[in-house]
């Protein structure tokens, strides 16, 4: 796997008080540290205990915390999430792991009807602090049923917080914030980034706020709004375009719901052009919401239509390598869309 550039995150660690870790190590470290800090936290999921998870995100945690806090579940995705809702009501902070986003449809009732609506439906009597970790994303040859990116489904669910980090720094910092709040958080981790992305992470405790985007590259000709794997490809595109004299501002959404309108609008006001780069089929994807919001609230800033760069409206990333390669946008495609937007 090729190594991609690490996104520059504001507030990211510099100096000696840091260590360099992979994206997945940042998640494992974040889980361990939070479980040490708060004994109400427990993990439950398929193959997560002695086996350490299919991607090894929970490696070593069963040995450290034992069978009452790292629980192997039967193949019961619905129970994983909905049972966790009950455990949260009873005073714990559960973290169910959904092995692949491709299986999340089995847990939608728990996420949408129960976790997201518990506070609302009970007039604030019951809260549902929990962190649903879900592995997602393409570009690993996973085929139609192990590559999915379904974030936009859950962006339509007020009451839920949806996050997806791009860097080890944010992976750990967002995870810690998720565990320390009172909301149900759907924490999406990108499997392509697990071992391809390394970055500096403080050795001391820190958090990254939920609901805040980050400007990870400054520019004045166009704003690119993206997240996770597509953020890295957008940064590659921005680097290419810099050589051509096009200065691209790149925003990492980090939290997809509720997302940070202010940071987006402030940037678009400056650049007058917006390109949304996201990983799911085009229609009604993340770009639909961001594009509509910019059109509604930032129309007077714009000198060009908002552009969406995404996979085509295929169901998800197909298996055959040639088809898979035609699915996710690469840096060249993103760069071309930015060029066209700037030239409009």
């Amino acid at each position: 796997m090729r190594t991609m550039e690490t996104a520059k995150t504001p507030g990211a660690a510099v100096g000696t008080d840091v260590k360099t870790v992979t994206y997945i190590e940042a998640i494992t470290d974040g889980l361990r540290e939070e479980m040490e800090r708060d004994e109400r936290i427990f993990l439950i999921g398929e193959d997560i205990a002695a086996y350490g998870g299919v991607f090894k995100a929970t490696k070593g945690l069963y040995e450290r915390f034992g069978p009452m806090r790292v629980i192997d579940s039967p193949i019961s995705e619905n129970f994983l999430v909905q049972g966790a809702v009950g455990a949260a009501i009873a005073g714990l902070i559960p973290s169910p792991e959904l092995q692949f986003d491709d299986f999340i449809s089995l847990a939608v009732d728990g996420i949408v009807e129960h976790a997201a609506k518990m506070r609302y439906r009970s007039g604030g009597m019951f809260t549902c602090p929990m962190v649903i970790r879900c592995c997602y994303g393409g570009a690993v040859g996973g085929g139609l049923f192990h590559s999915q990116a379904n974030q936009s489904w859950f962006m339509h669910c007020p009451g839920l917080v949806v996050v997806t980090p791009a860097t080890p720094y944010d992976a750990k910092g967002l995870l810690k914030s998720a565990f320390r709040g009172q909301n149900p958080v759907l924490y999406y981790e990108h499997k392509r980034l697990y071992r391809t992305i390394k970055g500096a992470v403080p050795t001391h405790d820190y958090t990254v706020p939920l609901g805040k985007a980050a400007v990870v590259r400054e520019g004045r000709h166009a704003t690119v709004i993206s997240y996770a794997l597509m953020l890295h490809r957008s940064l590659e595109a921005a680097e290419k375009l810099a050589a051509e004299g096009i200065e691209v501002e790149v925003i990492d959404l980090r939290t997809l719901l509720p997302y940070d309108k202010e940071t987006i609008l402030r940037s678009v006001e400056k650049t007058a052009r917006a390109v949304v780069v996201y990983e799911s089929s085009k229609t009604m994807g993340v770009g639909a919401e961001i594009g509509a919001m910019i059109a509604e609230e930032g129309f007077s800033f714009l000198d060009a239509p908002v552009r969406r760069v995404s996979p085509p409206d295929a169901p998800q990333e197909p298996f055959a390598p040639v088809l898979a390669a035609a699915y996710l946008p690469d840096a060249a495609r993103i760069a071309q869309a930015i060029r066209e937007t700037v030239a409009y």
Binding site: F42, M68, R69, S73, P74, S76, N78, F79, Q82, G83, A84, V85, G86, A87, A88, I89, A90, G91, L92, P94, D109, G110, E113, H114, K117, M118, R119, Y120, R121, S122, G123, G124, M125, F126, T127, P158, G159, V161, S177, R180, G181, Q182, N183, P209, L210, G211, P258
Partner: protein, 322 residues
């Protein structure tokens, strides 16, 4: 264990309170005093009164829409039950949810959603937490026989069986899942046979015998508290009226309804207590008067409670993001 006179009187009070409240709520809905709909459980009172009487405040119940009797017996104040139906500001849910979706945190009554069997899964999750926390609280999970065909119910019972959680699964088999007869939902005469698949005991009892429902549930609760795992109790009963007040229930024969009305759990228990000399006619009249007064007070509370204000639509969507 012998049931004390106080317990018998307590069961009698709740059985009548639930019956009177339910019949009164039907009338209130028909009079247009509250809107939406109403899900009556008249005829089924013995199941929920028997299984909730004697539970501790810390025990949780997972309920669906037909569990008025469960929430009243578990200890939700009647005025909040009424405010919920009226969707008023003083309802615990602040008018947000749905008719008959009662919840009351101080007594472990989990506010439900409408997806069937889901509250069993959530309450089972509470029981998992009780095990992790080393507490001896119990989760009592209510469904009808129809919900036992739902995959999520299976996931919950399977998990509870694997981890020997402190759950009591009460199935109120009222023979009809809305309009679908039990024979098209469950390929068994007794739903309790399903328990074999989960490795814990399943019992079938007469659900119109409140004393039997109480004794059976209490035994299952004691077993659960001792860490001996779940029990499934099927209680055979019948709902006298439609699925909701807008359902004429013409899928059933009048003979069937009359058969079950002759097995009314309320006078049946009353006769037993009169025969045993636990209560007499004057006790009965005093109890019914007390109940009448309590219901009037609750209605008065609900009707005087203000409607929520439009701006409250966005309250309680999120806790502070932090």
């Amino acid at each position: 264990m012998a049931v004390s006179t106080d317990e018998l009187k307590g069961l009698y009070y709740y059985l009548n309170l639930v019956r009177q409240t339910d019949e009164r709520c039907r009338r209130l809905f028909k009079q247009g005093r509250f809107h939406g709909t109403y899900f009556s459980a008249v005829g089924q009172e013995a199941t929920v009164v028997g299984s909730c009487y004697g539970l501790r405040a810390e025990d949780v119940i997972g309920i669906q829409h037909r569990e008025l009797g469960a929430v009243i017996t578990k200890g939700m104040p009647l005025k909040y039950v009424m405010a919920e139906l009226y969707a008023r500001k003083d309802s615990p849910d602040r008018g947000k949810s749905h008719p008959c979706h009662y919840g009351w945190k101080p007594m472990g009554i989990i506010t439900p959603a409408s997806t069937i069997a889901a509250q069993t899964v959530i309450a089972t999750g509470c029981a998992l937490a009780f095990k992790i926390q080393r507490k001896d609280h119990v989760a009592v999970c209510f469904v009808g026989e129809g919900a036992t065909s739902n995959g999520v119910w299976h996931e919950a019972l399977n998990f509870a069986g694997v981890h020997r959680l402190a759950c009591v699964f009460v199935v109120q088999n009222n023979l009809w899942a809305e309009s679908v007869p039990a024979r098209l939902g469950v390929p068994l005469d007794d739903v309790s046979e399903r328990a074999k698949a989960y490795g814990f005991p399943g019992l079938t009892i007469d659900g119109n015998d409140v004393l039997l429902a109480y004794e059976t549930t209490q035994e299952a609760v004691r077993r659960a508290r001792r860490g001996e795992g779940p029990t499934l109790i099927e209680m055979k009963t019948y709902r006298w009226y439609g699925h909701s007040e807008i359902d004429p229930a013409n899928y059933r024969t009048q003979e069937e309804v009359e058969y079950w009305k002759r097995r009314d759990p309320v006078p049946r228990f009353e006769r037993l207590l009169m025969e045993r000399g636990v209560i007499d006619e004057s006790y009965k009249q005093a109890t019914l008067q007390r109940i009448e007064r309590e219901i009037e007070e609750a209605i008065d509370f609900a009707e005087k409670s203000p409607h929520p204000e439009p701006h409250e639509i966005l309250e309680d969507v999120y806790a502070p993001l932090g």
